[in-house]
C-alpha cells in the first residue's frame, strides 16, 4: 500500500514537566524547515507536573491547520493513558509504543512499533533524572526515521534550539541518533512519508498570544496591568519580554512603558482605566474568571466613556471550568457585561495575523470610541503554534481619537466633555495636566449632563443614553468588517468566528468535495456591520458555527435580525477540544439530510 506523503498528524502522549516539550518542538521545527506546512497543538492539564499531556503535530501540504479527529502517528509514552490513546487510533494509523506501557488488542490494520525507550536511554545518560528528559529525544529519532526525515534536518532544528548549550546539544543529538539507529535496524518502513517542499518559505511559526503582544507593542502600548491567569498569562509575559527588549533605553534602562502585576483583576482594570483616562495606551489581559471580576468597572467605563483594551483569552467555563481547554463561551456575558443598559464592542481574532492586527487596532478603536474594547481570543488560537505569513509593519499612524489639547481649547473657546458635536455620538475629551482653564472636568459613573456635571434630570439622562446608543451604531462602521466568500450557486451559508475558522475552511472543502457548496462569512467584530445582514439575506440558510453550548452568537444575531432569525441554524462544539473539520461536516450533513458515507 502506497505511503501518504506530507498529509498526516503525529500525536505524542506523555506527562507534563517531563521535557517532552523540547522533543516535540524539535520535530515541529524540522518539518517546518523542510518546507512542509505544519501546526502544533498542546493539550495540557491544569497542574504543573506529572499529569497526562498530549502534543499533536498536523502536517498538511495543503496548509490545513485545524485539529484532526483521528491521528495517524501515535507516540504512546504515558502508561496512564496509553490504553485510551491507542483505542482512539484510526484505521491505517501507526503506533510507536514505549515498551512495557499497557496496550489493548490492536486491530490488524494498525502498525505497531515497540521501542525499548528505557533500554535505549541507559547507555546515553548516567543521571536517572536526566534520562527522563532525554528519553523523549529518542522518539524524535524513531519518528524521523519512519517518516524518512534526514537526520541532518533534525540536527539543524536541534542546534537552532539548543545552540547555546553544547553539552545539552550533544546529549540530545545522541538520543536522536539512538532512536533512528534502533529504527533502522528493527523497524519496517511506515505508510507515512515526509518530503521536502518549499511551502514554508518566508512563513513564520508563532502563538496567538505572542502575536497579540507584538501587535500591542507596535500599537504603542504604554501601560499594561494584569493578573496572572491561564491561558492569558503568556500574552502579558511575552509583551513584557518584548517591551524590555525594544522599549527600554539600552543605556539608562528607562522604559517608555509601565507593566504592573495587579493584586487582582478588579485592580488591573481599575489601573487601566486610570491610565487611559490620563492619556496612556492601556490594556489588560485575562480570562473568564478575571473578566467576571471586571464587570463593575467595565460598566463604569462604558458610561463614563473611558477607553480600555481588554484581552480575554477564552477558556472553558463556567467558573474555573477547564482552565487549559479552549472555548468561545464568553460572548453574551461580555457583550452585556455589567448591569443597566450596557453594551460593549468586541473584536474576534481568527488568525495570528488578526491577533497582531487587533493588538494595534483595539487601541485605535478604544480611543476613537472612548469605550472599552474587548478582544475575545481563545486558548487554541492564543497558546498553540500557528504557521502564518509574516506580519507587515503598520502603514498608518495611530488614532488617538477626539482629544483636545490646550491649543485646541484656546481655539474652540469652549469645552463640554459629553457634547455630541459631530453627531456620531462620540464626544471630545481632555487629559489631566492640560494647561488651559477650560480643560478640567469631572468624570463620574453617576448621572451627568453634557458638561459632565452631576444631574438626576430625567430628560438629560435619556439624552445621554440615546447618544451612547448612537455611538454604538457608529462603532458598526469602525470595527473590522467580516471576510466574506460567496460561492456562486451556494444555498448554504456558514458563519463563524475566532479559531473555528480553521475547522470551517477545511470542512468547506470536504463538503464541496461531496457537492455541498457553501458561502462563508468570517465574523470579526460585534456590533455587526451591515454586510452581516446582507450575507444572511443572500443565503437560504446559514449555519452558525461556534464553540459553546448556548449558541451565543446565533442568539445575538437573532436579537439584531429578527426577520432573519429563522434562517439561522447552530453548529455547536463545546467539549474543550479545538474544533476539527469533521465535526462540522457531520453536523451539516445531518441537517442537510445527506447520508454519511
Amino acid at each position: 500500500m502506497k505511503a501518504t506523503t506530507n498529509d498526516f498528524s503525529i500525536h505524542v502522549a506523555t506527562v507534563n514537566g517531563s521535557g517532552s516539550q523540547t522533543a516535540n518542538t524539535t520535530l515541529l521545527r524540522t518539518i517546518f524547515q523542510m518546507g512542509v506546512p505544519v501546526s502544533g497543538k498542546n493539550l495540557f492539564p491544569s497542574n504543573i507536573a506529572g499529569l497526562p499531556t498530549w502534543f499533536t503535530i498536523r502536517v498538511s501540504e495543503r496548509g490545513y491547520l485545524a485539529r484532526t479527529r483521528h491521528n495517524d502517528v501515535l507516540v504512546a509514552m504515558n502508561p496512564e493513558t496509553s490504553v485510551q490513546d491507542i483505542g482512539a487510533m484510526g484505521p491505517g494509523s501507526i503506533l510507536i509504543l514505549n515498551e512495557g506501557v499497557p496496550a489493548p488488542r490492536i486491530p490488524e490494520d494498525r502498525t505497531v512499533y515497540k521501542i525499548p525507550f528505557n533500554k535505549l536511554v541507559e547507555p546515553l545518560v548516567a543521571d536517572v533524572k536526566l534520562r527522563k528528559l532525554v528519553v523523549n529525544m529518542i522518539y524524535v529519532g524513531v519518528v524521523a526515521h519512519l517518516l524518512g526525515i534526514d537526520l541532518t534536518e533534525v540536527d539543524r532544528a536541534l542546534s537552532a534550539q539548543l545552540g547555546k548549550k553544547p553539552k545539552a546539544l550533544d546529549m540530545n543529538r545522541a538520543a536522536v541518533r539512538a532512536g533512528a539507529d534502533y529504527a533502522t535496524r528493527n523497524l519496517k518502513s511506515a505508510p507515512f512519508r515526509l518530503e521536502r517542499r518549499d511551502k514554508t518559505e518566508k512563513k513564520i511559526l508563532i502563538e496567538g498570544n505572542q502575536a497579540g503582544a507584538l501587535g500591542a507593542m507596535f500599537g504603542g502600548v504604554t501601560f499594561l496591568s494584569w493578573y496572572p491567569i491561564t491561558p492569558s498569562s503568556s500574552l502579558a509575559e511575552s509583551l513584557m519580554a518584548y517591551l524590555d527588549q525594544y522599549r527600554r533605553d539600552p543605556k539608562t534602562g528607562e522604559a517608555t512603558f509601565a507593566v504592573i502585576q495587579a493584586e487582582d483583576e478588579i485592580a488591573a482594570i481599575g489601573m487601566v482605566l486610570g491610565a487611559s483616562w490620563t492619556g496612556a495606551r492601556a490594556m489588560t489581559t485575562t480570562s473568564g474568571p478575571g473578566l467576571s471580576l471586571m464587570t463593575e468597572f467595565t460598566g463604569f467605563a462604558y458610561y463614563a466613556e473611558i477607553p480600555a483594551v481588554i484581552w480575554d483569552i477564552q477558556r472553558v467555563g463556567p467558573s474555573t471550568g477547564l482552565p487549559t481547554r479552549t472555548s468561545q463561551a464568553d460572548i453574551l456575558s461580555t457583550v452585556f457585561l455589567s448591569h443597566g443598559d450596557t453594551k460593549h464592542v468586541i473584536l474576534l481574532p481568527a488568525t495570528v495575523e488578526d491577533c497582531f492586527d487587533f493588538g494595534m487596532r483595539a487601541f485605535d478603536l478604544a480611543e476613537r470610541l472612548q469605550t472599552p474594547v474587548f478582544v475575545l481570543s481563545d486558548l487554541d488560537l492564543g497558546m498553540n503554534v500557528w504557521m502564518s505569513d509574516p506580519f507587515s509593519y503598520p502603514d498608518k499612524p495611530w488614532d488617538r481619537g477626539k482629544v483636545l489639547d490646550a491649543e485646541a481649547l484656546a481655539k474652540a473657546g469652549t469645552f463640554e466633555r459629553y457634547r455630541d458635536l459631530d453627531k456620531d455620538g462620540i464626544p471630545y475629551r481632555t487629559l489631566p495636566g492640560t494647561d488651559h482653564p477650560l480643560a478640567g472636568y469631572f468624570t463620574r459613573g453617576s448621572g451627568h449632563d453634557e458638561k459632565a456635571k452631576y444631574t438626576e434630570d430625567a430628560e438629560t439622562y435619556k439624552r445621554v443614553m440615546d447618544r451612547l446608543a448612537r455611538k454604538y451604531d457608529t462603532a458598526r462602521s469602525l470595527v473590522p468588517p467580516p471576510v466574506i466568500e460567496r460561492t456562486p450557486g451556494a444555498e448554504i451559508g456558514i458563519l463563524g468566528f475566532g479559531s473555528s475558522h480553521w475547522g470551517i475552511v477545511e470542512a468547506r472543502d470536504l463538503l464541496a468535495a461531496e457537492g455541498l457548496k457553501t458561502s462563508y462569512l468570517l465574523l470579526k467584530a460585534i456590533p455587526f456591520t451591515s454586510d452581516v445582514e446582507s450575507f444572511i439575506k443572500s443565503c437560504d440558510r446559514v449555519y452558525v458555527v461556534e464553540q459553546n453550548r448556548d449558541a451565543q452568537m446565533a442568539s445575538l444575531l437573532r436579537m439584531d435580525y429578527p426577520g432573519l432569525a429563522m434562517k439561522l441554524r447552530s453548529i455547536l462544539h463545546y467539549d474543550g477540544l479545538s474544533l476539527d473539520a469533521q465535526s462540522i461536516v457531520d453536523q451539516v450533513r445531518e441537517r442537510e439530510g445527506v447520508l454519511a458515507r
Partner: protein, 348 residues
C-alpha cells in the same frame, strides 16, 4: 508662616476662589465640608497649579467632596472602594501630576481595604485622605469597619467588632507618611495636608469627620462632642515649604524637625512627652495604647521622607507616558523585521 501675600494672591498669583469648587450638597454641618475647607486652604497656600492636580475618589458622601474643591482640576469619581487602582493608573501614566484622593471609612476600610493596602504597599505618590465618620453616610447610617467597639448606632444597635485602624495598617504596610487629624481642628489639619502634599510617596491622612445626621448622637464615639473630648494631639504641627526659609527656633528639646524630600520642613512642637515620628513600632504602640484608653491620638504618627516612590521601581522615563509621541512608542520597521526573521527559523 503662611505664604499668602497681602493682596490675597498666593505665590502663583491665584486667589482662594481659584481653589474652590461647586456648592456642597452635603448636610449642613457635615465634617466632610470642614475638611473640604482645609483642603482648599492648604492647596491655596501650597500654591498648587490646579491643572496639575488630579482629584480622585470612590463612592460615598466623602467621595462626593472632590466636586466641591479645585473646580478647575480634572476629577475622577470612581466606583465604590476602587479609587486606589484608578490612582495607581493615573500616577503611572503621568508622573508629573499631583494626586489628591478622598475616600470614606466604608470606601477604604470595608469594600476597598484590599486595594488600599496594595496602593500603600506600592507607595503610589498621592495624598490619600480618609474622611472617617465610622458610618456609611450616603446609605443612611450603617456601621462601617472603623466604628469603635461599643459605639451605638441611631437604630440602637451597638457595634461589637474591633475597628480597623487605617493608620496602623498603613504603617504595617510601610507607608512613608501617616497622620491622623480631626475635621474640627483645621489648625492641625492644614499643615498636615500641606506636608502630605510635599511627600513624594503615598501619604495617608485619616481625618475623623463626624456625620451630623447619622452618627453625632449620644452614645456614638465619633460624635463631635466625643471626639473633641478624647482628641489627644501628639504635638503642634507647623509646615515650612521649601521655597521659604523661615527659621523657627524653639528651646532645645522643645521641638523636632522633619525635612521632606523636596526640602520643605515639618516642625513638631512638643506637647507633653516627646514623640519620635520616625519610629514605626513606637507609632503602632501609640495607636494601640490610644485605643485602649479611648483616645483619638492625632498628629503626624509616622514619617519616612526617603522611601522610594513607585515610579522608581518601574524605572519610568521622565516624560509622562501619556504624552509620548508615536515614534517613541512604536519601534521601527527593522525591529519587526528582526522579530519576523527569527520566527521564520521556526523559533517561536
Amino acid at each position: 508662616m503662611t505664604p499668602v501675600e497681602t493682596d490675597g494672591k498666593n505665590r502663583i498669583g491665584l486667589t482662594i476662589a481659584d481653589y474652590k469648587g461647586a456648592k456642597s450638597t452635603l448636610c449642613p454641618g457635615c465634617g466632610h465640608d470642614a475638611i473640604t475647607g482645609s483642603i482648599i486652604q492648604a492647596a491655596f497656600e501650597a500654591g498648587l497649579e490646579p491643572h496639575r492636580v488630579a482629584k480622585l475618589s470612590g463612592i460615598g458622601c466623602s467621595s462626593k467632596t472632590p466636586a466641591y474643591f479645585l473646580g478647575r482640576s480634572h476629577g475622577f469619581n470612581a466606583v465604590h472602594g476602587r479609587m486606589p487602582s484608578i490612582a495607581t493608573g493615573v500616577s503611572v501614566a503621568n508622573r508629573t501630576l499631583t494626586l489628591l484622593g478622598v475616600s470614606g471609612d466604608g470606601d477604604t476600610a470595608s469594600i476597598g481595604l484590599g486595594q488600599f493596602l496594595h496602593l500603600v504597599r506600592r507607595n503610589v505618590p498621592l495624598l490619600y485622605i480618609v474622611e472617617n465618620n465610622g458610618v456609611y453616610g450616603l446609605t443612611k447610617g450603617q456601621f462601617s469597619a472603623t466604628a469603635d467597639v461599643g459605639s451605638k448606632a441611631k437604630s440602637g444597635r451597638v457595634n461589637e467588632l474591633m475597628p480597623i485602624d487605617v493608620c496602623a495598617l498603613a504603617i504595617e504596610l510601610g507607608c512613608g507618611f501617616v497622620a491622623r487629624s480631626f475635621s474640627g481642628d483645621p489648625k492641625q489639619l492644614r499643615p498636615i495636608l500641606k506636608a502630605a502634599l510635599s511627600h513624594r510617596g503615598t501619604a495617608v491622612v485619616d481625618v475623623i469627620s463626624p456625620c451630623v445626621t447619622f452618627n453625632n448622637h449620644e452614645g456614638s464615639t465619633k460624635s463631635y462632642l466625643n471626639v473633641k473630648e478624647h482628641d489627644a494631639p501628639l504635638h503642634d504641627i507647623f509646615f515650612i515649604p521649601s521655597y521659604e526659609n523661615i527659621e523657627v527656633d524653639y528651646a532645645p528639646g522643645e521641638s523636632r524637625e522633619v525635612t521632606l524630600h523636596d526640602g520643605s520642613r515639618i516642625t513638631l512642637k512638643k506637647l507633653g512627652e516627646d514623640y519620635d515620628p520616625s519610629d514605626a513600632l513606637r507609632a503602632l504602640e501609640t495607636i494601640h495604647h490610644g485605643r485602649q484608653e479611648d483616645k483619638f491620638v492625632t498628629g503626624l504618627l509616622y514619617v519616612d521622607p526617603d522611601k522610594e516612590p513607585f515610579e522608581q521601581d518601574l524605572r519610568l522615563i521622565k516624560t509622562p507616558l501619556a504624552s509620548l509621541p508615536l515614534e517613541k512608542v512604536r519601534p521601527p520597521k527593522e525591529v519587526l523585521d528582526e522579530v519576523m526573521g527569527a520566527l521564520m527559523t521556526g523559533k517561536y
